[in-house]
């Protein structure tokens, strides 16, 4: 029996999963602050509590995400690009393209039949089209980010959000509000805007018949539906989609010990 952990220290949240012989037995999700080492440690502790296991039982800890080098108690680090690829392939072995939308990054990743990265494209130096974009715009409308996806599904005439900058988009939202536009139509417009930006990245790596959507934004039903419509297919979304990076990280640890990720 081998127990491994993956800790994904992202820009807004820390995710941790525990895998025992390739099976998920514990997980945690918590916000990150400025003390990343403590955030990583806390994420692991919480996952251990959920699984009812001790830290001493963990054979390998792998860090991923922008804060991966702050998982100082770990033995391995892998970029979140490699981890999302591996994690998505673990959950959906037939997938060849992964779209990960996190707090500040959007990534389109092309993978092979083994879950290895062939190509990737990311947003550059701007958080437009990411989770942060939705946070800011939800705030401008007075909603919680967790409710806007469902609300957007009730839109009848989505507005056109043309700006490619998060800060300017907030101004655009405010402008639509002052013109009396239905908030649902504004929200739908925002979702379409993000999907259009994501499509550009997906097209750069090449769209395949099976696409898997990961990261915090994949929990947003409005985003999933909009993406489905624009791609003309049903994207894969797993209830654990927010943990895919951490799952991938744990799988790298599992492989290091001689296990198979398949």
């Amino acid at each position: 029996m081998t127990l491994v952990a993956g800790v994904d220290l992202g820009s807004t949240t820390a995710k941790c999963v525990l895998l025992e012989d390739g099976k998920l037995i514990g997980k945690s999700l918590s916000p990150v602050g400025v003390e990343l080492v403590k955030d990583a440690d806390r994420a692991l502790e919480r996952a251990l509590v959920e699984a009812g296991r001790e830290r001493s039982e963990v054979s390998v800890v792998t860090g991923t995400g922008y804060g991966r080098f702050k998982v100082t108690f770990g033995q391995l680090t892998v970029t979140e690009i490699g981890c999302h690829a591996k994690g998505a392939h673990f959950l959906f072995p037939g997938t060849r393209v992964v779209l990960d939308i996190g707090g500040q990054d959007t990534k389109a990743i092309k993978i092979n039949e083994k879950g290895e990265v062939i190509d990737f494209a990311m947003n550059d130096k701007c958080a437009a089209g990411t989770g942060r974009f939705l946070d800011v715009c939800a705030g401008a409308l007075g909603y919680d980010v967790n409710e806007i996806g469902t609300l957007s599904l009730g839109a009848r005439h989505p507005v056109k959000v043309t700006n490619t900058c998060t800060v300017f988009a907030e101004s655009e939202v405010t402008s639509y509000v002052s013109r009396g536009k239905d908030p649902k139509d504004i929200l739908a417009g925002l979702h379409i805007s993000i999907v259009n930006r994501s499509l550009s990245l997906l097209q750069r790596v090449g769209i395949e018949p099976e696409v898997t959507f990961t990261g915090g934004v994949s929990r947003n039903e409005g985003m999933v539906r909009t993406l489905d419509r624009r791609l003309g297919l049903r994207v894969n979304v797993n209830p654990l989609s927010q943990y895919v990076g951490a799952i991938g990280a744990a799988l790298f640890g599992h492989e290091r010990l001689g296990g198979s990720a398949a």
Binding site: F69, V71, G74, Q75, L76, G82, V117, D119, F120, R256
Partner: protein
Amino acid sequence: MGETATTEPGFLTTARERQRQMVEEYYAGLADAGGAKKPIAYMFVGGNLTEIVRSFGYEVVFPEIVALNCAIKHASLPNILNAESQGYGLDVCGYVKNDLGLQEIGGQTPFGRVPPPDLLVCSFSGCYIYVKWWEALAEKYGCPLVMFDVPYMRDALPQPEDIQYLVAQLHEFVALLEKTTGRSLDLAELRRTLANSRQAEQGWVDYLASGRRHPSPIEAYFEAVFYMFPINVLRGTKAAAEFYATVNAEVDERVRTGRYPVPEEKFRLVVEGVPPYPSYRTFWDFFRKWGAVSVAATYPKVGGLFDRGFLHDPARPMESIAEYSLGAYVNQSWPLRRKIIEDYVREFGADAVLIHGIKSCRSFTAGQGDLRDWLIHDLGVPTLYIESDHEDPRYFAPAQIKNRMDAFFESLQQRRGASAIATVTA
């Protein structure tokens, strides 16, 4: 496998010291030249006419090289801000803004004072911004501006009509220089200068060819840039002609002693694009941590594609200079640039290509996105596109760039069958 600890990059000791000395002497000489009223010609690196103006007693300044020297010494931003305060926009080329900002403070750099021009020679007309740059300087200093109109290179070999067109312009240029300086063209002196150029070019080619070895004894991008100064700035001088014998002797020594650019060569890369000079060392370290070595690169060829078969020919001075100008890397059409990169990948046994795009330069960068797609999808060559700037430090985002590079090297490693896992190093 994975990232390894960073050590100081190893340079060719004697050659690096000699190069440093040549840079110092050059800038000191420029200051003297200005004081002694030795005429100064400003010129672009690509397709330059340095041999002709040198034979008329001019000293040559390459503001692009002054700009990169400023950037690598972290001195470009004040000049850029100075130019922006004059009204030059955020998206104007960093070389241009560095120079125009520098001109406003009398050309004072950390490595010496750069004198103003007496003559402006627009030797590369493929970049519209460059033409405007020279026009701005001509207006400021009231000096003659010579436009050398070089047709875009459409075919692998220069066409006879293009050569004739350039030779005719060269004769007009010589007539202007004769009138301006009161001297006649000294053909024997021009031939001697061209012979020096040819000797330097052959030595440079030999140096670059050593990247074919496995492992490569040279770093053909980051390290080569240092040894590029003599071939670009001092071409035609005896000092440049003799420099590459020193370089190549040390490369041979590296092979004999097994002291390579990285302790263990893991990835062999072809690199396309101008380096991010303000973050040069940081960017280089991103490669070195992964045991990645550039075995061939296009950027060190901007001063001449000598490794593709062209060398200046003292027996055919004007025709040879015309052929050189036509064949400048920046003057090549994209199909020709693609072919060069494809050949480098094959001939140098590269694992992948890295493209560094320049935010403020559309002239050099436009088409690199298509190049990336072509390499990946048509040739199956793993390729990474990174973007920052050659001059402006505000465009270099280390966390994002490192993340992309780490992911790229991980994927290369994975495809070799090794697990893409790294030790914990920041």
